[in-house]
Symmetry: C2
Subunit: 307 residues, 2 copies
């Protein structure tokens, strides 16, 4: 893998991280530049649905990068969410839609961030700006990422740019967005095979503010009740994670993608933040947050500002 | 000034910071968005040459921003180089060509960085991408910024994109680049009116790495010897700055713009870095660095990696 420029999204990759890495590689190739999409973790069931639909393989898994390795980051910038060794890698570019934190470089770089619902929407605009043709494969990958990150355009993170991109990608992708989208999202909510350890790691992200470390995990479901059948075990594993990583707060959001609400489980010494941030007392370490479906737009900013 | 979106470059503004702020405002206006260029410090003599040439006023000076003020940063991202109050401002966008450090936001934002020689070159590409017409005023402002940051395309920071931008801006600006450029650069080297306190602040930037604070200042000249006539007083003022700001290292680069070399004066407890970074022993707190003219590309990366 030496000398190859690697593209990857965040740890615990979601559909946007995987699809945007692959789309970035396709865009680079069409521009005559050889890069390689890789991934930092297991493919989740939602993303697997997309890959199966297209009949293509997942990017290769990597665990760390060597010093000086050239890398292109998509869908993240915080080193805590990135590959082991990122501090000594050569970050050539970042394409992202998140806030910027715990990120620094020793050299100037390309950094393209827009406050959109999805990284793939930014890549879509890059295709347009560069006048590069969008074909079916990348259209399906980008559409899937947008559907995933915006929960079929229902999340408050959705912008007019995501709507426009999805609309223009639909005929090229040649899919029925509502039908394909719901099936894809539902595929991601099938949690039966997951141990509780695996379940909280499906989409967990670690953050740090002023030396205080916290983690926010999220699982999508069509039945919050169903997930809470394993409440006791979930709390046990969350407490273990807190102890092992030295976290001050762990929030697991169990998000009902059909009704757009979340039940959260919060543990750690800083759980008082939840009351301040959302005006809800934790009962049994849990709170029901009406209308909350977005970690980036709803959970993280409130927790980050109050921790 | 309330409710206005403010655009500014770094403290101790150089020609790129001032011109790019003004160009950003012009681009915004042509896109139907009302913003306002301001500045964080005095106009230097080089920039004054540009403003006089165009017969236009400098942007208004501001000293701080209120909590929640919407701001657009150009030519910098590090909070240490930005306005007082930046931590609580709403950073809507950044357009920059520096490394990223000591920067964070609590919300997603627009961030456009490219590893070019000059911010104005990135803005030039924005005009092209958005299909917005470039007129004489903004052409002169962008050309001046490029000439300043690249020392008439002779600095190692110069990229093919800066060359291309300057080439394409020249006929619109309707100037003789060599003649205008040399006069502009020379105007900036007239240091006679400056006290030593003012001299080291003409273009000083503070950096921080792992809690270690250091500052690198730079003055351009056509005679290093001339500047060194005030060596003793310069060292005195530098030492005072170190004490007041708690710096571990202060480097003043006296750059000969005609021969593309720099003499540096280095003081502070971490001066050992200079030997490691450049292979030169300090003699009398000074070292002659052949071919070194760029803080961003030559001084900062080496010092930053070794401090």
């Amino acid at each position: 893998m030496e000398n190859e420029v690697l593209i990857f999204g965040h740890k615990n990759p979601d559909t946007d991280s995987i699809c945007s890495s692959m789309v970035h590689e396709i865009l680079d190739r069409k521009n005559g530049w050889k890069t390689k999409a890789v991934r930092l973790g297991n493919i989740n069931k939602e993303t697997q649905y997309v890959l199966n639909y297209l009949g293509i393989e997942a990017p290769e898994l990597i665990e760390r990068v060597e010093e000086g390795q050239s890398v292109l980051l998509v869908d993240h910038n915080e080193f805590k969410q990135s590959v082991e060794g990122i501090e000594k890698a050569k970050i050539v570019s970042v394409t992202d839609h998140h806030k910027i934190a715990n990120f620094e470089t020793s050299e100037p770089l390309y950094y393209l961030a827009k406050p959109y619902g999805c990284t793939a929407t930014i890549l879509y605009e890059q295709f347009k700006n560069l006048g590069v043709e969008i074909e079916k494969t990348e259209a399906v990958l980008m559409a899937s990422a947008i559907i995933s990150d915006t929960l079929l355009l229902k999340s408050p993170t959705t912008t007019q740019y995501d709507r426009k991109a999805l609309e223009e990608l639909t005929p090229i992708a040649d899919i029925n967005i509502q039908q394909y989208g719901l099936e894809m999202l539902k595929a991601g909510t099938d949690l039966d095979d997951f141990s509780v350890e695996e379940l909280i790691q499906i989409d967990a992200k670690e953050f740090e503010k002023n030396g205080v470390k916290f983690e926010i995990a999220q699982v999508n479901t069509v039945s919050i009740e169903d997930v809470l059948k394993r409440e006791a075990q979930l709390k046990e594993v969350i407490q273990k994670t807190i102890d092992e990583k030295g976290l001050s707060l762990y929030v697991l959001a169990i998000t009902d993608i059909l009704n757009s609400n979340s039940e959260i489980i919060a543990l750690g010494e800083k759980t008082g933040v939840i009351k301040v941030a959302f005006g809800k007392e934790l009962v049994d370490d849990k709170a029901f947050l009406e209308g909350v479906v977005s970690r980036k737009k709803q959970l993280l900013p409130e927790i980050d500002q109050n921790i």
